[in-house]
């Protein structure tokens, strides 16, 4: 398999892949092929499996391994794959990380377990992860305190970058996080520190501002990944206004998808409507769309399509 490993130069859009299920809740690996094809056809720069949006905690270890292997096989080395391996059980984390890298993943993504307090505890935890997984495995640190309850201070992040050369990317989702992003970039540049890649999550709701503040792209599951790619490309080409114009067209739908709790069901329904999934089934526990939700979605999509044609 492709042995390409992620490094600090990673740029662009690495969507968080949904995990397809059949209506009865079984893993649907044939749909995973369709989904991979869907993302690749939209010229994404990488793909992220088993993120929070990928319903990773709802999968058995065997299912997680199967998702990684199947996606690796389908992608065939065309883009790098990041695999979310976060787990309060360090042994389970290491097992999935090592298996994923052996299968051909490019990096693993780790969010800290809930309950860590203070920079030292966080640094020690990342140290234990680095020790537990195969040497040299590139790591993406997922900074998502809304979910983990663990705060990453800018100082702790700098220490982490210095201490762990394996840390090549930050998935930035803290909120409020814009000043944090600016500080990370400015202070690292001032100190001559290694510049790691920063991709933004949080449903890309602040994407244009984050790109302007030094982010390198996005790692989120918006059901129209072509928008994320186009905004990235326009911004990278120096057309910040054009990038923001494109973003604005999709903003109502993006905002609707960013609803806490039910956003995943919205996203899977849109992916189904776009032909990328056979079923929009979300595994329990998960929220389902009401008839009223669907009508709103119909209207939002119709408005989007009208604006895209204009």
């Amino acid at each position: 398999m492709s042995t390409t490993r992620l490094d600090e130069t990673a740029r662009g859009v690495f969507p968080i892949s949904a995990t397809p299920f059949t209506p009865d809740g079984a893993l649907d690996l044939d749909s995973l092929d369709r989904l991979v094809d869907f993302y690749l056809a939209r010229r994404v720069h990488g793909l992220t499996l088993l993120g929070i949006m990928g319903e990773a905690p709802k999968l058995t270890p065997a299912e997680s391994r199967a998702v990684v292997r199947r996606a690796v096989a389908r992608i065939g080395g065309r883009v790098p794959i990041v695999v979310g391996v976060s787990n309060v059980d360090l042994t389970a984390l290491a097992a999935l990380a090592n298996d994923s890298m052996a299968a051909g993943a490019a990096a693993v993504m780790v969010a800290p377990p809930p309950g860590l307090v203070g920079d030292d505890a966080l640094l020690a935890y990342i140290g234990s992860v680095v020790t537990a997984i195969d040497r040299g495995t590139p790591i993406v640190y997922q900074d998502y305190p809304q979910s983990t309850g663990v705060t990453l201070t800018v100082e702790a992040f700098h220490r982490m970058v210095d201490a762990f050369p394996q840390l090549v990317m930050l998935k930035h989702e803290d909120a409020p996080g814009l000043t944090k992003l600016s500080r990370i970039r400015a202070e690292a540049a001032h100190a001559g520190r290694r510049r790691v890649s920063v991709l933004v999550g949080n449903n890309a709701i602040y994407y244009p501002q984050e790109l302007a503040r030094g982010a390198d792209g996005a790692m989120t599951g918006f059901s129209y990944p072509e928008m994320l790619v186009e905004v990235y490309e326009r911004f990278a080409a120096g057309d910040a206004d054009g990038a923001e114009d494109v973003f604005d067209v999709y903003l109502p739908l993006l905002r609707y998808e960013a609803q806490p709790g039910i956003g995943l069901a919205v996203r899977k329904e849109l992916l189904r409507r776009r032909g990328a999934l056979a079923s929009s089934a979300v595994r329990t526990p998960g929220l389902a769309l009401s008839a009223e939700d669907r009508r709103e979605l119909d209207r939002l999509v119709a408005r989007l399509e009208r604006r895209l044609k204009a």
């Binding site: 690996l29 092929d33 065997a62 299912e63 391994r65 199967a66 096989a73």
Partner: protein, 230 residues
């Protein structure tokens, strides 16, 4: 060309007639290896007969096993004895035979029971819509799990170092020399080691494919685990 004119041939050694799964003995006994190979074959034949509008073929060896395999194979599967010495000759003859009657043909191994049949369909589609002359499904060990052709091409099978990790690269080089357009299907794995068996067990638990292999494998892995614990 339409799919109704395509054939999918499963290439198999008849379990009990020729040695099968020898790299898995040990840990498996000869009987267990034979049972496993039989399960692989039957699950594969079920997969192929589930494809719509495709002629299902079992290309078998040795010729004397025909009666036994006839009893084993699901209805609707055409039995065709392999001819020739060595895999290269056998594949050459197989495609000669199939492509006189069918506008496209694909030969499949039996070494990967959870292989997604959707990928086989992708391969057939690539042949049918003329987007490829050769379809290859690479194996992780450097071989291939499938080869499909629209027209006979003996050059693809000449002087290939079979059973090495250079089968795919050699075949790709031959295809390039013949100016053939190649479509690569996703990479998949063969079952050659005990670790592969564990991976297969994982895969079956998740994909719910290969029911015969699944039933046998749970018994085999339980025995192997008990042995390791002893």
């Amino acid at each position: 060309m339409t799919r109704s004119t395509q054939a999918v041939a499963v290439m198999a050694k008849a379990p009990g007639w020729l040695p099968v799964k020898s790299r898995l003995q040990p840990p498996l006994s000869a009987d267990e290896a034979r049972a496993l190979a039989t399960a692989f074959l039957l699950d594969r034949l079920d997969g192929v007969t589930s494809l719509s509008a495709v002629a299902a073929v079992l290309a078998f060896a040795p010729a004397e096993a025909e009666r036994a395999l006839r009893a084993l194979a699901p209805p609707g599967v055409r039995l065709l004895a392999q001819r020739g010495e060595g895999l290269g000759e056998r594949l050459t003859h197989l495609f000669d035979d199939l492509l006189t009657e069918h506008a496209g043909a694909l030969a499949l191994d039996t070494d990967s029971p959870t292989l997604p049949m959707a990928w086989v369909e992708d391969g057939l589609d690539a042949l049918a819509d003329d987007s490829a002359d050769v379809v290859l499904g690479p194996s992780e060990d450097g071989g291939y799990w499938a080869i499909g052709l629209r027209a006979p091409c003996p050059a693809l099978f000449v002087a290939v170092p079979w059973s090495t990790d250079r089968v795919l690269e050699t075949t790709l080089a031959r295809a390039a020399a013949e100016n053939l357009r190649v479509r690569l299907l996703p990479r998949w794995f063969d079952i050659d080691t005990e670790a592969d068996l564990r991976r297969l067990g994982d895969d079956i638990a998740v994909s719910r494919r290969a029911p015969r292999t699944a039933a046998l494998l749970s018994a085999l892995t339980a025995r192997l685990a008990a042995e390791t614990a002893r």
